[in-house]
């Protein structure tokens, strides 16, 4: 009789001991999650639902933070203002492993990869990238692989001087707005991430349908979700598990449908080798100059 009671009390105590640090960790401080132009942020309610979903999984409220450029978001990571971020693959391969760590990679059309589309206005006469010589071209972000480096790489591969090929270029700081710039004919051509374009075609077909693809690049590792070094490993694991687990429950699956993604997964670093190759070529170019 006595032993029974003692054992139950012990169990309760040990539960309390285990619970204490969890309770400490589950403070009200929100987990800040940086977003870039990688995702199309056209629905506020979606991000509220996603933040709510992730918050429940990691045990702390999640707050999305949007900045116009990749550089701004990278700075937020460096200064510790955000804990996680969905960044572009180029800043990821460029960044020091001391600064950030890969959490998960989105799976798009079955693979953790995407590419760059060179798009022109549906009604324009342009058929190839060559036709855009001397024209106005829209990039998304100077730190973007698919929105800046990859199209430049495509031009360079054809033997053109990248800086003189186009008459005028500008940054829209958003893949979605690149599509808009081309659709409105402000730019004759633009480089857009395949994921964003396909997502827009699904969600905003009126805009995407006013453009057409004239060139597709090779595949690159999909823009990853990273966390800054120095946050609690348990939080990182919780976020990774929350992201990876999205495809396993109904609510998460619905959010993935809204994101036009198949899910999140953990993939080897070699997934980003093609990005590293571009970065290398670019660095060689820079060093040559």
């Amino acid at each position: 009789m006595f032993g029974h009671t003692t054992r139950r009390r012990f169990l309760l105590m040990s539960l309390a001991i285990i619970a204490a640090p969890v309770a400490n960790a589950a403070d009200d401080r929100p987990v800040r999650f940086g977003l870039t132009a990688v995702v199309v942020r056209d629905s506020l309610s979606f991000f509220e639902r996603w933040a709510d979903y992730l918050g429940r999984r990691v045990g702390r409220p999640v707050q999305f933070v949007q900045r116009r450029s990749y550089r701004d978001v990278m700075q937020l990571i460096e200064t510790g203002d955000v804990d996680f971020a969905w960044i572009c693959e180029y800043p990821y391969v460029q960044a020091s492993p001391d600064v950030l760590e890969l959490v998960a990679t989105p799976i798009f059309q079955g693979v953790p990869l995407f590419r760059t589309y060179i798009i022109v206005n549906r009604d324009s006469p342009f058929a190839t990238l060559e036709d855009l010589k001397g024209r106005v071209f829209a990039f998304s972000d100077p730190e973007s692989n698919t929105g800046f480096l990859a199209p430049r790489d495509l031009v360079a591969k054809r033997g053109h001087s990248v800086d003189r090929f186009f008459r005028l270029t500008f940054f829209t700081y958003s893949h979605a707005e690149t599509v808009e710039a081309v659709a409105d004919r402000v730019a004759d051509g633009g480089a857009v991430e395949s994921y964003v374009w396909e997502h827009l075609r699904r969600t905003k077909s009126a805009l995407a349908d006013r453009t057409r693809i004239i060139e597709r690049s090779e595949l690159y590792g999909f823009a990853p979700i990273v966390m800054r070094r120095g946050i609690a490993p348990r939080l990182g694991t919780a976020m990774r598990n929350a992201l990876i687990g999205m495809r396993k429950d109904k609510e998460g699956a619905k959010l993935l449908v809204d994101l036009s993604l198949d899910g999140f997964g953990v993939f080897p670093s070699s997934t980003y080798d093609s990005v590293r190759a571009i970065a290398r070529r670019l660095n060689e170019e820079v060093s040559l100059q």
């Binding site: 005028l168 940054f171 710039a181 659709a183 409105d184 402000v186 730019a187 009126a206 006013r210």
Partner: protein, 501 residues
């Protein structure tokens, strides 16, 4: 011609029409003023809107211009002007552009036609100069180009005091035009409705006002037509205004006139009765005198039936008395006889009258002057077309007047007869140099049994007067006691249409 016709329009038509015209004139003038004012206001509002948008873009454009952030500039233009390239035609902004100081396009709402980075080439040289001048201005400038269908706002962009760009915006004025049209249509509709209601109201009011006047007019007509009989019904006065007073006055006048006519009728009746009395008295007197003599004769004959001398002596007296009575009766019936016209009766000639009267004044020392200037000199029959059926009435008239002249000159004198045509009137004058007629007798001259000498019956001139009246003629007398009298008879010619009657 038209004016005269307008003048003859009824007041009940003219007044409502005038009111309608006034109401319509005022309403349409106000409507037009409202439309013009509305148009001006809309235009000013559109210019203000253009200037506001221009200033809004200019105020935020300096930073992106300096950074060559073409996309930001385009988004700014697009956002501020709410321009949607997919449905460009539905937007009020149909042209928007940001230029750098060298007329290069930094952003354009129509990038297909004005690509960024290139010179804005479609403007003509004068416009180019205008934009260059505007680069130096401090404030937004608007320009109304309604003919081209837009309002233009040009706003310079300045950074640290120097011009770095120029915002050019054009707002479509076509929508404004459409709005103006719809506003004009609304105002016109309202005005028309107002005119319709106002006109109906005005027409009703004026009809109400004019109706008593119309009643008075028709009452006047009735009054003039209702000669001696019947009376004019009273007109009900609605208001106590001038028209009401007019109606009241008319009612009073018509009442008084009716009363006067009634009195006249009564007086005429009285006069007739009096004349009848006079005639009866005259007849009684004229008949009574011979009757008394005749009865005496008969009494005497009856008293002495065996005396064979008596009938021989008295029968002529009785016969004379009866002739006298017959003469009186015949004269009284002369009017009746004159009216019994028949084709078998042959008219006498003026010459017959002349002969007759000449024999009558033989031995009286009278000089007779005969002047017949009627175109057909001798016989009145010749004038029968013009004076048809009246010759037999005319001859006794002339005969009576001549006889009257002879009687007026017991001591002899001059008797003149003149006849002529004056236009459509036949004029006959008989003038004597006899004793004349005292003024107090002139009024009774043509009364029956009025006589100024013992021998006459007093019916001659009365018969003459009745005959002349029968011929719709007139008889005038001019006389001076002691110097003679002039009788003038005027007989109007019958109109051809009336000849048969």
């Amino acid at each position: 011609m038209k004016l005269r016709r307008l003048n003859s329009w009824s007041l009940s038509v003219k007044m409502p029409l005038t009111l309608i015209a006034i109401v319509a004139g005022v309403a349409f003038t106000i409507g037009a003023a409202v439309i013009v004012e509305e148009r001006e206001q809309q235009r000013a509002a559109l210019e203000g809107q253009a200037a506001m948008i221009g200033r809004a873009v200019a105020a935020t454009a300096a930073g992106p211009i300096l950074q060559n952030d073409y996309w930001a500039l385009y988004k700014m233009l697009k956002t501020v002007t709410a321009f949607d390239p997919a449905t460009a035609r539905d937007s009020s902004v149909n042209f928007g552009m940001i230029l750098d100081p060298h007329d290069r396009v930094l952003a354009s709402l129509d990038p297909a036609n004005n690509p960024i980075g290139l010179h804005f080439v479609t403007i003509n040289p004068s416009e180019e100069q205008r934009f260059r001048d505007l680069l130096r201005t401090e404030n937004a400038v608007t320009r109304w180009a309604g003919d081209s269908g837009f309002v233009e706002a040009v706003a310079p962009v300045r950074a640290n005091g120097s011009p770095v760009g120029l915002i050019v915006l054009r707002l479509s004025a076509q929508e404004l035009g459409a709005r103006n049209w719809s506003a004009a249509a609304m105002v016109l509709g309202l005005t028309s409705a107002f005119v319709l209601v106002g006109s109906l109201l005005g027409a009703a009011i004026s009809r109400r006002m004019v109706r008593p006047l119309c009643d008075v007019v028709s009452g006047m007509e009735q009054l003039s037509q209702a000669n001696l009989h019947g009376s004019v019904p009273r007109i009900a006065a609605r208001d106590c205004d001038e028209i009401g007073q007019l109606v009241e006055t008319f009612n009073r006048i018509s009442g008084e006139l009716t009363e006067k006519r009634r009195l006249e009728r009564e007086m005429a009746l009285g006069e007739k009765l009096m004349a009848l009395g006079r005639i009866a008295a005259g007849v009684a007197h004229e008949v009574n005198n011979p009757l008394a003599g005749m009865l005496n004769c008969i009494d005497t004959i009856k008293a002495r039936p065996d005396d064979p001398q008596l009938p021989k002596r008295y029968l002529p007296l009785i016969e004379k008395g009866l002739h006298r009575i017959r003469a009186v009766v015949q004269n009284l019936l002369v009017e009746l006889r004159a009216n019994q016209t028949g084709p078998t009766d042959s008219a006498g000639c003026l010459e017959d009258v002349r002969r007759l009267i000449t024999t009558e004044m033989e031995g009286r020392g009278i000089e007779f002057r005969w002047t017949n200037n009627l175109e057909q000199t001798v016989c009145i029959d010749e004038l029968h077309l013009a004076f048809c059926g009246r010759c037999r009435r005319l001859l006794p008239v002339i005969h009576n007047l001549l006889k009257n002249g002879v009687q007026a000159m017991p001591q002899g004198g001059v008797l003149a007869f003149r006849s002529w045509l004056e236009g459509n009137t036949m004029i006959i004058e008989v003038e004597d140099s006899g004793i004349g007629i005292p003024p107090e007798d002139l009024g009774r001259l043509f009364d029956p049994f009025f006589t100024r000498h013992s021998g006459g019956t007093g019916l001659g001139l009365w018969v003459t007067y009745r005959l002349v009246q029968n011929m719709s003629g007139k008889i005038e007398v001019e006389s001076e006691p002691g110097r003679g009298s002039l009788f003038r008879v005027r007989i109007p010619q019958l109109l051809p249409g009336k000849v048969a009657a």
